[in-house]
Symmetry: C3
Subunit: 153 residues, 3 copies
């Protein structure tokens, strides 16, 4: 069995951002020489995620708005009453007591999940026609790492 590991580093301009990485993952698979197997794509941080979905800007804007309602930041005015009610009582995350301000990014990591595993068939990522791979940053503007691990033959 062959195994091959690579890492990517992201430093996004925005605090929340989706970065398409489908081609980067395919390139790592190419380098591995694996034609049948799987590749794990996993954020190494607890405030980022990996999502396989449509490369459609409107959908990504929808998703970021929705994530801000379901897992609201407390360092800005809640989007509405529902977002306010989903904040912890009495309004700020306990996680922020130590000086952090990214409590919501941990919950967004939980919702989106920090990893995916992609099948490799005939040397190609075996994805559906609209499946693209995204690194999802929820607390950026600093270096964040991702591990890509290929296993197979």
């Amino acid at each position: 069995m062959a195994s091959h590991t690579d890492y990517m580093t992201f430093h996004t301009e925005g605090r929340r951002e989706f970065v398409r990485i489908t081609e980067d993952v395919q390139r790592v698979v190419d380098e591995s020489g694996v034609s049948e197997g799987m590749v794990l794509v996993s954020a190494m941080h607890i405030t980022a995620a990996v999502w396989v979905n449509d490369d459609e800007p409107g959908l990504q804007e929808d998703t970021l708005e929705w994530l801000d309602k379901v897992a609201p930041p407390s360092w800005k005015e809640p989007a509405n009453d529902v977002a306010r009610a989903l904040l912890p009582d009495p309004g700020d995350y306990r996680h922020h007591r130590g000086g952090e301000d990214n409590g919501d990014a941990h919950l967004k990591n939980l919702l989106v999940h920090h990893q995916v595993i992609l099948p490799i068939t005939d040397g190609r990522l075996d994805l559906g026609p609209w499946q693209a791979v995204f690194y999802c940053e929820f607390d950026g503007r600093r270096d964040k790492r991702l591990v890509i691990k290929v296993m197979g033959d």
Copy 2:
């Protein structure tokens, strides 16, 4: 290392539906001849998911109702005020500008996650007593594919 790949196609009658596939996945494992390894079960669409949970119709009805509240469709009257508030402002998904009406199905795919990986021990899916595998359709009534990839010895 042995590797074996199979695909399933679903065409559900309903727009949202859970389809039990535990036995289908076991059959693919049987065909692979793998006795120790893992099997990846992954939707190839961005509006479907895979869930390992209880095969209990009441729970599935609960889950579909809950998903419609947390990730509300905008092509039907929101279930209640919370569902309405979780829709994007001012009420419809940006993703629908191009003529789509399945914005919520992308968010449901995100919540449920599009894949699972199951351990294989002694040639059997190594599941707990109540764990069943479901294909979760959120935008059906058309052909949708799933990939099943077995790796092991």
Copy 3:
């Protein structure tokens, strides 16, 4: 290819509890002798999950409070109006008709996801500096199992 399987049993005092298992998973990797590969960590129950995140008690308390709002129990007074509205109509889970009272734990399992897969590089879990592995119990006070499966060379 080498493969190694182990199981853990949990019996938490509380109904909801996070248990750190990073070192237990590393120990199973050590026993496997695998230096390059992956390890699957997967709850064998449908009311538990596995999460990779910060080992910070405030964050865990935040997360449990938030999960109780997004996936509210119906056997206790809802945390607020949002939690009440996210309960099924007219207020109790269909899943409870048969005498169960853990409907919310199934939804929490869905939100957190029941499994992770960790890369192994040079015999070590290839995790970021703040990534710790947790077993997340949502319906404890009884024996619950987890499977740990290592694959690699």
